[in-house]
Amino acid sequence: MTKLMSLMMRMMSPCATATRLASESLDRPLTAKERRALRWHLVMCHLCRRYDKQLHDLHDILHRHPETITRPAAGLSPAARERITRALQN
């Protein structure tokens, strides 16, 4: 973890840190320290526990039903699609 991130974590409220870690746990393996911090906070805070469960439920249904979603208007521009295609080919 960078010094800046560790400073930010100390300045954030425990719930802000917990909700950020709950989200990041879906994108990367948390460090042992982060996992402990998140687990310990969830034991004590029922609102963050609820938030964490709702994020996981949302994540699960999106993965189970990806075909159900139509791409939002805010999705990718043709240029961005083109960049993805190129990036995937390299």
């Binding site: 879906l26 609102l47 938030y51 439920d57 994540h59 699960d60 990806p66 159900t68 805010a74 961005a80």
Partner: protein
């Protein structure tokens, strides 16, 4: 988490909601409300299943920025769904 600002209990199980067509229309509407960069990162990662490094390359963002965008996307989507679906 501040009282009143915290997440409300959902009125229905997410898996049950996912069986209904109308739920996905509401979710689509919520996705459209996200800022474009946030929506792009979320759609690429969570719906298209694109690898995180790939998303960063395509959107030209740092890994930390990518995590921040996804965190914001999830926070806003959860809130939007709470207001437009799970509180009914």
């Amino acid at each position: 988490m501040a009282a009143g600002a915290g997440p409300k209990a959902w009125s229905e199980d997410a898996a049950q909601a996912a069986e209904r067509q109308e739920f996905w229309q509401v979710l689509d509407g919520c996705l459209e409300k996200l800022p474009p960069r946030t929506a792009q990162a979320f759609v690429l990662r969570e719906l298209d299943g694109t690898d995180g490094d790939e998303v960063c390359k395509v959107l030209n963002i740092s890994t930390t920025n990518f995590w921040v965008l996804l965190h914001r996307a999830r926070m806003q989507l959860r809130h939007c769904l709470e207001q437009n679906w799970f509180s009914k």
